[in-house]
């Protein structure tokens, strides 16, 4: 029996059923001979049974039992949360508060590059040693995550390897030393990836929407220019790392089946020696929502399709009406049954797809959506979207719409607990936003108890077209007149680096 098969089948445990005799790998539905011509179907179905007339009974869903969470504190004060999850795998998340707020407006590439460079070597071990070790354990390579309020290092590993996995994640988080030899090569690879981002319409749209919604706030920082990336020094990366991975900023989440006491002891051994420096996390200021509607075109000459993104400011995660606002947005723009999708995709067939884009964060986030249409349809699609959004502010949601939205949001909470990696990530994300670990357990109840009136009020407040921010990535020459005809005010035209394109009717923005 193969060594790998043994490892994986055992790791997957009962998930992987016993293997039977190996059949031949020949697609079964494909006949060897196709000489027979089409035949006429005989009676295709039996007469209708009565159960077919109506959808099955809408049985109540089983209540969610959130996993038990044990909180502890390491000797140096780092809070740790052990989330119980039955799995053959375990997941670790190290959350460092701050991140985007620690870099200058033109310094976002320092944190982006740090996220990559943390995996190319530590004070103890080379990148090659680390990677060989992950492979030998069948552990996921640790991943960096950059969120509006935190930077994270995470990994998933077989449960049996929890101790080693904690040690390795701690080593990467605390001892990355950004070896000079790897720095130049990794920075070069990073720059090439960034150049690709500048040609990726979806990424460009996300970047522009954040700038329009968040303005000068740190949440606006997603990725910078190639020039900014090339200017990043190893010393800047090391300094940022030292600031972020300070015991005053860290929180650790482990999702596992292992009893909490044992896990805490392992975390103490791996993280307990970290001493405080002077780097408490800077508090992100409150987001100042945009006060006026703006429309920006990122010029991509000659393209037949245009990528559209629109967004509105979202309240802070702990705002009293945060749940009502999210329900209102779900009614407006849910991927399946949102009012926008029903009107533009299902009734008018003007867009092939329309997908929501959400940013949630401690100080305020973003409600948005993206789509892609032929250049000549951009103005009519934007006009129709504007009408639907405006109507949503004045047309109260129906009881059925609210029920659907509540169930959609409930299901996402449930999905957060499905896998060990999702569970750890969900708790890490909540904690990064300053939400109590008890909060997620009450999330479903909060959605379900939100009234029609409060959702209607939130819709009026947060789904206001006078705050709508619009980005179109497409051919400026072809878009200029149709967009001007919308009467939404001046249209700003920029290149992929946000350098204003001076032209008649275009109003540039400064970088």
């Amino acid at each position: 029996v193969s060594r790998i098969a043994i490892v994986l089948v055992v790791l997957a445990g009962s998930c992987a059923p016993g293997t039977g005799a190996a059949p031949s790998a020949v697609p079964r539905a494909i006949a060897p001979d196709a000489d027979a011509g089409p035949r006429v179907a005989e009676t295709i179905v039996k007469p209708d049974e009565t159960f077919r007339e109506h959808a099955p009974e809408d049985r109540p869903a089983a209540p969610l039992e959130p996993p038990s969470v044990s909180k502890a504190q390491l000797s140096n004060g780092i809070p740790v949360y052990i989330v119980r999850h039955t799995s053959q795998l375990c997941a670790i998340q190290v959350v460092a508060a701050g991140g985007l707020a620690d870099v200058r407006p033109d310094g976002v590439e320092v944190i982006n590059l740090m996220g990559t460079l943390m995996h190319v070597g530590t004070a103890q071990h080379s990148s090659a040693w680390l990677r060989d070790t992950y492979a030998s354990m069948y552990m996921e390579e640790p991943q960096s995550g950059i969120y509006p309020d935190a930077f994270t290092i995470s990994a998933t590993a077989p449960s049996e390897k929890l101790t080693s996995a904690i040690d390795l994640v701690a080593e990467v988080a605390l001892s990355s030393n950004f070896p000079a030899k790897e720095f130049l090569r990794t920075a070069e690879i990073h720059v090439h990836a960034l150049e690709r981002d500048h040609n990726d319409r979806a990424r460009l749209t996300d970047r522009a929407l954040r700038r329009l919604v968040f303005g000068k706030h740190p949440y606006a920082r997603l990725f910078g220019s190639v020039k900014q990336a090339r200017a990043v020094s190893r010393a800047q990366v090391a300094a940022l790392h030292a600031r972020l991975f300070d015991e005053r900023r860290l929180t650790i989440v482990v999702a596992t089946d292992t009893p909490a006491e044992g896990v805490v002891a392992k975390l103490e051994a791996a993280f307990g020696n970290l001493k405080a420096a002077v780097h408490s996390a800077p508090e992100s200021p409150a987001v100042s929502p945009p006060t006026a509607r703006r429309i920006m075109v990122i010029d991509r000459p000659g393209e037949s399709l245009a990528y559209i993104g629109q967004a509105l400011p979202r309240p802070p995660i702990a705002a009293p009406d945060a749940s009502a606002a999210l329900l209102a947005f779900t009614i407006l723009a849910d991927n399946a049954v949102g009012r926008l999708q029903q009107r533009l995709r299902d009734e008018l067939a003007e867009v092939p797809w329309l997908t929501p884009r959400i940013v949630r964060a401690k100080q305020g986030g973003m409600f948005g959506w993206v789509t892609q249409v032929p250049v000549q349809q951009v103005a009519s699609v934007l006009g129709e979207i504007e009408r639907v959004v405006r109507t949503s502010g004045s047309l109260p949601p129906s009881a059925d719409e609210l029920t659907i939205a509540q169930r959609r949001l409930d299901s996402w909470v449930l999905a957060d607990y499905e896998t060990v990696a999702n569970t750890a990530r969900a708790y890490a994300t909540w904690l990064a936003m300053g939400v109590s670990p008890e909060d997620p357990a009450t999330q479903v109840a909060r959605y379900d108890s939100t009234s029609l009136e409060s959702v209607g009020t939130a819709a009026k407040r947060y789904l206001a077209t006078d705050q709508l921010q619009t980005v179109v990535v497409g051919d400026w020459k072809a878009l200029r007149e149709p967009l001007a005809s919308l009467g939404w005010g001046p249209v700003e035209a920029v290149d992929v680096d946000f350098v204003a394109i001076p032209s008649e009717g275009g109003h540039g923005v400064r970088r």
Binding site: S14, G20, P23, I30, A415, E418
Partner: protein, 466 residues
């Protein structure tokens, strides 16, 4: 490395009491795999997983665009869209509304050249709903099909296709490659064609496709989650068991392995910042032994740990900024793909020339077993981590059941990645990636060209030509 690997195996097999308890706990919440075959030929796969009150379902019809008549590309996708929109007992638009109302966290439909797959994850108590909806699509579709809906869905499909072809600077690259790689009568020869192809699909074509393929004998349903096997079997019998098998349409001819008789170089213009070169070879079908070995070779050429081709072209020769390699596995024949993004100022010819030199060198390169181990890890790690999700299992079971006749195939699938020796790597490269039998797509930057790219010309060089 191998010794360490065996140590891991031993540790996993003979772990201490805590791990034994953990194993026992897993057995308490996750049941064994159950397979049933309904009298009408439909396959049913169920596994209980009681960790969270969710269930994931996947329904696979073993017929995608490859099963469509040659002049009716996209009929499978259009049929799927129409089924999802309206059937005899499900009014227009209700499919989405009902599954959303049931609290589904995700659902999707995918039409590939091999299959149509419907997936959903929802609260387990409402598992009957997708079965009711999907069985209505299987048995009660024709009666609800009207011309207005057909027109609307054709329009939506046309725009979706436009998005795929023109939505990125090289959106047509795959179509250009498939046209050259596969013979005209092959199911993969660019069946999902141009926008105008959509207009050729009429009501009769849709109904013929549905009658032939959206039938119990071509269907596999898998349910994984917080359910009881007996309940799911009863529901499947109720909703699907009464739909008779069709046995109508012609079976898809299983094509023989594509063998090229030379190399074709295609010149393409695209609005990309730098030149690109793609090299494609026809390779064996999904789940075959060599298909697995080619997965590993792809990771040896440009994986996270070993990246022979990347090192040669990006680090040493500096003719490229990125190299991507991939074994694109499909049921009727796979394609090994290399995509090279050129460094500024490099032409497609420069890149191809350096690629050829580098690749010839790699054919003779000494392969270390450790490199193979890490390339295997690179390929398998995501697959392993995904096993924590019921949706992954549901989808995987339908694919195994449809392609090899049993859902119980995970161990055999994984076993393909064992026993790979340095000698086998060389053999497989020589067997499947010859330098004189391939398709080369040479992309030259041109900001003025149509979106998606345009083909300028091609030339053919017979195999064996010096």
């Amino acid at each position: 490395m191998i010794l360490r690997f065996w140590l891991v195996v031993l540790l996993v097999l003979f772990a201490g009491p805590r791990d034994a308890r953990a194993q026992a706990k897993m057995r308490d919440v996750i049941g064994p795999l159950r397979e049933r075959h309904l009298a009408n030929g439909m396959n049913l796969v169920v596994r209980e997983d009681h960790r969270v009150p969710l269930a994931s379902l996947a329904l696979r019809y073993d017929a995608g665009e490859g099963a469509a008549p040659p002049n009716l590309g996209l009929v499978a996708e259009l049929t799927t869209s129409l089924m999802l929109e309206k059937t005899q007992h499900v009014p227009a638009g209700d499919y989405r509304r009902l599954v959303a109302r049931a609290g589904a966290s995700s659902w999707s439909d995918t039409t590939t050249s091999d299959a149509i797959v419907l997936k959903i994850t929802l609260p387990a108590a409402r598992v009957a709903l997708p079965m009711w909806l999907w069985s209505d699509q299987m048995g009660f579709f024709d009666q609800a099909l009207d011309d207005a809906e057909l027109k609307t869905q054709r329009s939506v499909l046309r725009e979706r296709r436009r998005n795929r072809l023109e939505g990125s600077p090289l959106g047509r690259l795959e179509a250009f490659g498939e046209q050259e790689l596969f013979p005209i009568d092959h199911p993969y020869c660019n069946r999902a064609g141009e926008l105008s192809d959509v207009d050729r699909i009429d009501r009769d074509a849709v109904i013929a496709f549905h009658d032939a393929w959206i039938a119990p004998e071509h269907a596999t349903l898998a349910v994984v989650g917080d359910v009881l096997v007996d309940d799911v079997v009863a529901l499947a019998d109720r909703y699907f068991g009464s739909i008779s098998r069709r046995d109508v349409g012609p079976p898809v001819k299983r094509p023989t392995q594509v063998v090229l008789d030379g190399s074709t170089e295609v010149d393409i213009l695209a609005n990309v910042p730098g030149a690109r070169v793609a090299i494609w070879w026809p390779t064996p079908a999904f789940l075959t032994t060599d298909d697995g070995r080619l997965d590993v070779i792809a990771n040896l050429l440009s994986g996270n740990r070993t990246a022979w081709l990347y090192w040669a072209l990006v680090d040493e020769k500096r003719v490229a900024t990125a190299v991507h390699t991939h074994q694109y596995s499909r049921a009727l024949g796979s394609v090994f793909q290399v995509l090279i993004e050129g460094a500024p100022g490099k032409s497609p010819a420069d890149i191809l020339s350096e690629f050829d030199l580098a690749f010839e060198g790699l054919r003779k390169r000494v392969v270390r077993p450790k490199e193979i181990d890490t390339a295997v890890y690179d390929y398998l790690i995501d697959k392993l981590l995904a096993q924590d999700s019921a949706a992954t299992w549901a989808y995987q079971y339908t694919a195994y059941e449809a392609l090899v006749g049993t859902a119980d195939y995970y161990g055999h699938d994984i076993d393909r990645y064992s026993h790979i020796t340095p000698e086998l790597i060389h053999e497989v490269i020589d067997r499947w990636l010859p330098s004189d039998r391939r398709i080369v797509l040479l992309v030259t930057p041109d900001p003025g060209v149509v979106s998606g790219g345009a083909r300028r010309g091609k030339h053919f060089v017979p195999a064996g030509t010096p």
